[in-house]
Symmetry: C2
Subunit: 323 residues, 2 copies
């Protein structure tokens, strides 16, 4: 295959949220697909996709979108992936590859696989990339560059189909890793789901404090709190579904987190500074590794490169569409 | 006073970490001080300050530094502020103003005040600004711009001294608020100390998981974990001291955090999606307020504006000096 030949002929994206709309833009920008078909359950979102012009075809239903597609990527919240699979199943072409972008893999495979006809190849995927913003306006073509995409193909998956899905993601600039759905769910429970839960929780706790006003929380958020609010602004529907679908792994890592926190709490109560110092030194080294691996930069990040800008930037309001 | 007349004649900064070295640079850049004297307990740091050239005078001891200064700002970790106060006390000039930059105020006032002679004016301060980096190289002149600085003067404080300290911080670009040390400590417990504790804790929990490798945690950190590592890379000495000095307020907000987390844990276990959705929607609104207040920008922040840079940026190693 020549370097810039399309990896797939016709890619159908079901759901035009942050991820779906970024995929459409990226697939076109990198010629990973000859044609990109996009649909979304919301008519408002479909109209906006037409205006933004990042799809070759905007289909009015998921079933219509997948006709003739050799790659179908389901980009909707985890909780409705099963329904979408049932809807598209009769319309899927022979030897079509079906994939998704769900943040949970075990539950999603169980929800989607039973609906899919035997003639299609199911290669679940999870691009570990995103921002706190949602909807078709939020997407951009470089979202997946230098980010990891995890594939969780079933053990008997067609090797050629897996290789093509890998090639597709690599074309978008991602690095690809393959693992079992179970291991994926545990890895993401600690690297993504627990951080989001903690962030949502601390923002809620701050909001409920009666001795400190909300105005004070906001004014003085540069002391550290601000860093949590970014991920606590992520799409509520998407995240509700993630926690319900990855319950066991999340409860497992949450149990460990709580246990560790009790240890710190006790160290503070009893004035055991050495225990605090030991942990605080260890965590600094992990940060260094993340920066060295290219998943972050060392640039100090006070107010996100715009401390001097006083004009607030408008925030896109959430769409009902998938992410 | 003309717009650009110096607010103080001679400002002595004890400790040349991130905050002290930023103060020196900012005071010179904005002409807030006619002369800036800097010292640090570490000879290595003092030598580096001479090389960097951001001080008019580099003094070899705290006692030497304060001679002739009309403003002295103690910029060392909270745990050693009392010692520094004792050391400088005999050398302080008549009517000198003494301040600090500690992240805790109640304990610090109790540690410093008894050492200070009656002829000086004590106006404790806390600039709510910083980065995860430490040492004299990490400082920069714009660190305090558009950030809040909290003053906690005693009830009988000299009004003119408080006004001059306020004018000093405003000259550096800060907004100033005055409150009691007790209220400060509660506000910062929720906006800064608890977030740091939680961040340190989750990074430690991830590091200890045996079913997920450290390499995996780092690779997939873009899923949310990465956001926590920034503040978990903050100076260990400074933060150990903060938790020991603000024990009661930290334990109070930590208790509420843990209680709220148990509620979420139960909602996940019992599949109560509506409870999760309600909280996740509420927290999004708080983020919006923080952005509207200018303490953050809405720019999506995947990999901190440098996703395409593959070259790791060297991270300054921690100095022993204060922050």
């Amino acid at each position: 295959m020549p370097e810039d030949a399309p990896v797939f002929e016709r890619v159908a994206l079901i759901g035009a949220g942050l991820i779906g709309s970024s995929l459409a833009r990226a697939a076109r920008a990198t010629h990973a697909a000859k044609a990109v078909v996009v649909t979304d359950a919301s008519e408002t979102v479909r109209a906006r996709v037409r205006e933004l012009g990042f799809a070759d075809v905007v289909a009015t239903s998921a079933a219509e979108a997948v006709v003739g597609a050799d790659l179908v990527i389901v980009c909707v919240p985890v909780g409705v992936q099963g329904e979408v699979a049932a809807e598209i199943a009769p319309a899927l072409g022979t030897a079509a590859v079906v994939s998704d972008v769900g943040s949970v893999k075990g539950a999603v495979v169980r929800a989607m696989a039973p609906h899919l006809p035997a003639h299609v190849h199911f290669v679940p995927a999870h691009p570990v990339a995103g921002t706190e913003q949602s909807g078709p306006d939020a997407g951009f073509a470089t979202l997946f560059q230098n980010r990891w995409c995890i594939l969780t193909p079933p053990q008997d998956a067609d090797e050629a189909a897996v290789a093509k899905v890998r090639a597709f993601w690599e074309r978008l600039g991602s690095k690809v890793e393959i693992m079992t759905p179970e291991h994926h769910d545990l890895v993401l429970a600690i690297t993504s789901h627990l951080p989001h839960l903690i962030a949502y929780n601390i923002v809620g706790t701050a909001d409920d404090l009666q001795t400190v006003t909300e105005g004070e929380v906001i004014k003085f958020s540069a002391g550290g709190f601000r860093d949590f609010t970014r991920i606590a602004a992520s799409d509520p529907t998407m995240w509700r579904d993630v926690f319900l679908a990855n319950r066991d792994a999340v409860l497992e890592v949450l149990g460990r987190f709580t246990e560790d926190l009790a240890y710190l709490q006790r160290a503070i109560r009893w004035g055991e500074g050495d225990k605090l110092f030991d942990l605080f030194s260890r965590t600094r080294a992990i940060r260094r590794s993340i920066i060295e691996s290219g998943q972050e930069t060392a640039a100090p990040d006070f107010g996100r490169h715009a401390a001097a800008e006083s004009k607030p930037v408008p925030i896109p309001r959430p769409y009902g569409g998938g992410e």
